[in-house]
């Protein structure tokens, strides 16, 4: 009965590879997000989707491509991974502008 789930929890990969992170929410929310948390714990918004449509893309390289097949899912695909992409990625969801519920995070390590 997890509200917001992400897979995988850990992802270790080589530079230049392409990888995906999946996110699902069972709260019936209409808005989903991806946040990046760096090694200093700073959380920054990457994308915001409302009803499957992209609302915000905060200066994220186009190697990052979110995909929302339906309102309950927002996946993150990353092409040509770089060392600087190493971070913890959090998916979140909300009903419009109300409180956001976060997933457990995916720790990405690029070697």
């Amino acid at each position: 009965d997890t509200a917001v789930s992400q897979t995988p929890k850990y992802l270790v990969t080589q530079m230049g590879n392409d990888k995906s992170i999946k996110c699902e929410q069972n709260l019936g929310h209409d808005t989903m997000y991806w946040y990046k948390q760096d090694s200093k714990k700073f959380l920054k918004i990457m994308f915001s989707y409302n009803n499957k449509e992209l609302i915000i893309n905060e200066t994220v390289p186009n190697r990052f491509s979110p995909k929302s097949p339906d309102k309950a899912h927002l996946n993150l695909h990353i092409n040509s991974l770089e060392l600087g992409d190493s971070a913890v990625y959090f998916c979140a969801s909300s009903q419009r502008g109300n409180e956001q519920f976060f997933g457990p995070g995916t720790r990405l390590t690029v070697l």
């Binding site: 917001v4 808005t31 997000y33 946040y35 200093k40 714990k41 700073f42 959380l43 920054k44 918004i45 915001s48 989707y49 409302n50 609302i55 915000i56 905060e58 959090f90 979140a92 909300s94 419009r96 502008g97 409180e99 956001q100 519920f101 976060f102 997933g103 457990p104 995070g105």
Partner: protein
């Protein structure tokens, strides 16, 4: 650019004492503020929120105060417990952001017995 910041990066309190975590924001257009708690290895967990038409809101053992005049937000935790040890973030909604949040840098709260 405009940002949300925190006054203290770390805070150490004794069990049973009250804790106060402060946050300054600079976006006068922000109308929604949230406090999150993040334990090691976990995602941020909602604690309490407040909208700009209020100056105080209380939850279970927590109180959020909003001073719009000086753009200051605080989180008060009563009778702090060891389980309260975590990193605390304040966040504000971004104008025209599709509801995305702008997070502060975080304060690490350590509760000692």
């Amino acid at each position: 650019g405009e940002s949300v910041g925190l006054h203290l990066p770390t805070l150490s309190v004794q069990e049973g004492d009250n804790s106060i975590i402060n946050c300054a924001y600079s976006n006068s257009a922000s109308d929604y503020f949230i406090w999150y708690k993040q334990e090691s290895g976990k995602g941020p967990q909602f604690i309490i929120d407040i909208r700009s038409n209020m100056d105080k809101r209380q939850g279970q053992r927590v109180t959020v105060l909003l001073n719009k005049t000086v753009k200051h937000l605080s989180l008060q935790i009563a009778a702090t417990q060891p389980g309260d040890s975590a990193v605390y973030f304040c966040a504000e909604n971004l104008s025209n952001s599709g509801y995305a949040l702008n997070f502060g840098k975080g304060t690490s709260l350590l509760v000692t017995p």
